[in-house]
Amino acid sequence: MLLPLIGLHAVAGVAVLAAARRWGRRGLVVGGAAPALTALWAATQAGAVLDGHAVTERATWVPQLGLGVDVRLDAFSLLMTVLVSGVGTLVFAYAWHYFGSSDKVGRVAGLLTLFAGAMLGVVVADNLLLLYVCWELTSVTSYLLIGIDDAEPQARAAALQALLVTGLGGLAMLGGFVAIGQEAGTYRISELLADPPGGTTTAVALVLVLLGAFAKSAQYPFHGWLPAAMVAPTPISAYLHSAAMVKAGVYLVARLAPAFATSGPWRPLVVGVGLTTMLAGGLRALRPFDLKQLLAFGTVSQLGFMIVLLGLGTPGATAAGCALLLAHGLFKAALFMVVGIVDHDTHTRDVRGLPALGAGWTPLRAVALASAASMAAVPPLAGFVAKEEAYSALLNGSGGERLALVGVVAGSVLTVAYSLRLAAALWRPDLVSEAPAGRATLARGPAPAFVAPAALLAAGSVALGVAPGLWSGLVDGAARALDARSGTHLALWHGPTAALALSVATLVAGAVLFTGRRTVAAVQARLAPARTGADVYDGVVRGVLRLAARVTSVVQPGSLPIYAAVVLTTASLVPTVGMLAGDWWPGWPDLVGRPAHVPLAALLVVAALAATVATRRFAAALLLGVVGYGMAGLFVVQGAPDLALTQFAVETLSVVVFLLVLRRLPDRFEQRAPAAGRLHRLVVSGAVGVFVVLMALAAAGSRTAPAVSREMSARALPDGGGRNVVNVVLVDIRGMDTMGEITVLVAAGIGATALARAGEVPRRRPPLRGARRARQEARRP
């Protein structure tokens, strides 16, 4: 049922896209049906899956490459499916109001559906390569979704940035996957985790894989694309950039961590990057006035947090990470929706420009408050439960985990601060920004149905906080699925533990930070790095463009003489060097064969050299003819009458044709600066000459077997029916060559005719007589 469901996403998505204009926002219903059905189906499977009975299905694709459509729904995948499909369904519902009758709704619906399918694929894939396939599909759909307002240059740039950064990571990851797969002998994730490979190759491969995960999950220093992607309409941000896609990296890290956390640089890398991200993201979230930017950096920070927890690979942290995943999905999606509604109804999301919100906005503000509180880990909300879990896990862990805890707490303080900032933005904007005088009050609030999806999510945050038993089983199962040693029992109240103390301290510190926001802002402004992540990206892209232009201007000068020089130099040097490097010299042959060769060779050499230095076109052409005649003479001496004949005739014909063509040109070659200097040309010519001489002598001296043509002479008459062996060879033994030769002539004739006529055949035939007269008149002086 899993594969058909994924297929359903694809079919529904394509159908919605195809009918985008006709269906309009009804497409959201069709498209949304796919994640909704998936969520329902997942719910029905939950019991068995949580009991440890994973649903597996498989289909073959390219088995020889290890690329199979293997899917497996275990409890962790189930948790992710809840996020992907559950939140997804709500996003579709939210989008109904958000887009209204906008003309892009159809495309958004279709792409969102495709995205949901791809994301579902990521979280249920049991094959590294399949995971990569779905992974990149999410990148592509994300590209198209971010760029949905394609008339805006910013949207295009942000879409490209997201695609390139995640694509870069993805490609590194692919390399890592293949290396791991080859090391392990399988690309099946379940088999791989059961028997993880070790060694240097694996360690390197894991770094590559992590690179992919980091890029996808917007970890420093790859995070820049995520804030930029906020130009997309909010349903897209809510889904892709908080609930689902950015979790792909986290998902992957979580999957691999229990098996690989101890190998190589995994742990330091994951914890280092995760903490950096958490802290840096948190700090950045304190600055923007654009609510969406605030959320974006908050997401970056939270993703860092999750990477730390799930990347540690210890049982406790893993369980906590699972809880945080779900909690974050709930509150962050809700917050995005809230900001989206504000943006939609007030046409701004800048705190400084927000109107005062009237009574109609209270429900929405409540939703925002609840979700922000969950984000800040205020009890009794889901966020609190998760963070509590995390603190206690890290507290109980080894030295390294304690170290991580320091960072996590610091990050959480920042989280509290920016959560407060967000909540304040909706309730007391004056706290966040200088309130402009005469702020109009917008009394009429958003439509209830518009708020409903967000409210549902906020309610979830509350419910899960109040009644941890609701999701304890799911988190426990997910943690066990990742790591058999793991497992947890979520609770709101664990008693007066160190973790609780830390939580309280965190909240207090965060509040203090928020209170002293002006000082903080001042310090931050002082300390803000000159170069942000966006600058780095810009710099790299610009560097690539410049490099491309430079390289291209060198290798592609557009000049035929240079191309010819390159070709001939390569052709003479490479084989010659290759030959000289090995055993090749067969010994000196005779200096001179027949006496007649001497004058003929002299003739050829003299005429050829003369043609080279000739300053007149016509003379050069005639000298070429002399060379040809000399060749004919040589053929006579070599015992090749047919050849001599043909050579002679063809040479004459060539000269005649040449002369016909030359008529139009001045007689002397113009003295112009040649593309290549004389010396260069001489060097290249010399190289070609040496190459021909050496290779010819080496080849001729190395013949051991008699030529196959021996047999031809004997069989010419009986089998070929001719006395002239060369003729028999031409028309019978190698008749195919001759056929080809004739074909070449025919094609040449057609081509030359077309060229001769080109430009003289008017496109539409004018009256013939008039045209002719006109031409005659034109000819008259």
Binding site: L174, V555, V567, G582, A699, I733, G751, A754
Partner: protein, 494 residues
């Protein structure tokens, strides 16, 4: 059997003769052309089926058994190439019939096009080195005629580059043939297998490298590629499309064939080819990034992707060669499609220059779809054919320990993506075009163009879907290339 092997060569020639015969009656020419290629396609598929089932097949032309006469040989590789080539030729012909322009204005188009088909067929099937030269010449001469059809000044200029460089390549090929015959006294490729092995090592590698250069020029590998991006974009669209898809690949095929069949394992320039492959990929893709014209971008990508194929060849393992084969198949279909789309863009808007294009997505959503699918495939994004091909090469490369070239290939595919999105973002995205030339694409003849393009898109999707069996086929083909005994035995002792 002989009909199946001779068909792909003789049939188009016959068609060409007929086409010349019916002359100015254009509809008859069209009928002849399409019929010929359809029959050719059927024959090729039958040949592939047979070869895949019963192994290498051969025919001694004129009854002169090898190595005296010319042998036509079809192994899996040749048959695969043939099938793909003919299908693409057919689709492009249909497109050309739909397009107002070259096909309509010149009596010579159909005959020359069929001659091109014959040349390509002969190049794939011949088992004789000199006959390969002749096949190349047939193909090239037809291509010269096609690329200059119309005789516009820019065409003439770029045609000159193309013809002169090709002529140099042909001359070098002739020299190579002379050296080979001089040293071995035979031209039959199967016969050469044993005779070249007996040559002194230095001479052997000299010959191998010379052939690499010769075919490398036609295949446009670094540093011999510069002619390609200058010459391809100026030709009429169908011509460019078929060149882009097929001609360089004939060079790659020849490279593949000559290096695996003629030179014994251990003496092949594998490392050199890998280095060249990496450079080709990088330089090609950088060139593409620097361009601002769709056709030129695509042309540079040909170069870049030739690098991938050469990488597969340079590995000289079953996996590498199989990867190269499936990459070639993918590339032929996808690249042709993209050029056809570029032609449609040009047809619709009058230009293919990115500075002058915008918002095509709104104008022609169908075109946008037709572009983005093969474009993503070209960039090697899953789940398209390009991904499978790239994956095959990456796996083969890592398996053989060629880490650097694999890394380069992955990086290059990102840059490929960059330049594909450049086309997409500039031409298809963006604000509405301020002025619309109004050349809508609804006329029945344009339906032919769109239909032909769409059918190639479908074909490329089919390649992705059927990647499993197709890769199996490629792998079997690669086995034949690694172990040439079946080929040699079939030719010399049938």
């Amino acid at each position: 059997m002989s009909a199946l092997l001779g068909g792909p060569v003789l049939l188009p020639l016959l068609g060409a003769a007929l086409s010349v015969g019916v002359g100015r009656w254009r509809n008859a020419q069209r009928l002849v052309g399409v019929t010929t290629l359809v029959v050719d396609a059927v024959a090729s598929i039958a040949l592939l089926h047979r070869v895949d089932r019963h192994g290498v097949a051969s025919v001694q032309a004129g009854g002169w058994e090898a190595p005296v006469g010319i042998t036509l040989v079809a192994d899996r590789l040749a048959a695969i190439m043939l099938v793909v080539a003919v299908l693409v030729l057919l689709a492009v012909l249909v497109y050309a019939i739909g397009q107002p322009g070259a096909e309509e204005q010149h009596v010579g188009f159909h005959p020359v096009y069929l001659i091109l088909a014959a040349g390509i067929g002969a190049a794939f099937l011949t088992g004789d080195l000199f006959n390969l030269f002749v096949a190349f010449e047939v193909m090239l001469m037809a291509s010269y005629a096609l690329i200059t059809l119309g005789g516009r000044p820019d065409q003439v200029r770029s045609g000159m580059t193309y013809v002169v460089i090709s002529l140099l390549a042909s001359t070098l090929f002739l020299l190579a043939l002379a050296f080979v015959y001089s040293a071995t006294g035979t031209l039959n490729m199967a016969d050469l297998t044993t005779k070249i092995a007996a040559l002194p090592g230095g001479l052997r590698s000299g010959l191998a490298l010379l052939l690499v250069v010769v075919f490398g020029i036609k295949a446009a590998i670094f540093p011999l590629f510069s002619w390609l991006p200058d010459s391809y974009p100026t030709a009429p669209t169908p011509v460019t499309a078929v060149f882009a898809g097929l001609l360089t690949k004939v060079g790659v095929y020849a490279l593949l064939r000559s290096q695996t069949l003629l030179f014994p394992p251990g003496t092949r320039p594998g490392t050199l080819l890998l280095v060249v492959a990496a450079l080709t990929m990088v330089v090609g893709v950088l060139g593409a990034i620097a361009q601002n014209d769709i056709k030129r971008i695509l042309s540079f990508h040909i170069v870049s992707q030739i690098g991938y194929m050469v990488m597969g060849i340079g590995l000289f393992t079953v996996a590498g060669l199989a990867g190269a084969v499936i990459y070639i198949v993918h590339h032929i279909v996808v690249k042709t499609t993209l050029f056809l789309v570029a032609g449609l863009v040009e047809q619709r808007t009058g230009t293919a220059h990115l500075d002058e294009l915008t918002g095509l997505r709104r104008l022609e959503p169908v075109l946008a779809v037709l572009f983005i699918l093969p474009a993503l495939s070209l960039a090697g994004l899953p789940p398209f054919s390009g991904f499978v091909a790239k994956l095959a090469l990456v796996e083969a490369g890592l398996d053989a320990g060629a880490v650097v070239v694999v890394g380069v290939s992955l990086a290059v595919s990102l840059l490929t993506l960059l330049s594909m999105t450049k086309i997409w973002a500039n031409a298809f995205w963006g604000p509405d075009p301020s002025h619309d030339t109004g050349r809508t694409m609804t006329a029945p003849r344009q339906a032919l163009m769109v239909g032909a393009t769409a059918s190639l898109v479908v074909l490329s999707l089919a390649v992705a879907v059927a990647a499993g069996p197709l890769y199996g086929l490629s792998e079997r083909a690669a086995r034949d290339l690694v172990d040439t005994s079946a080929y040699v035995h079939e030719v010399l002792a049938p």
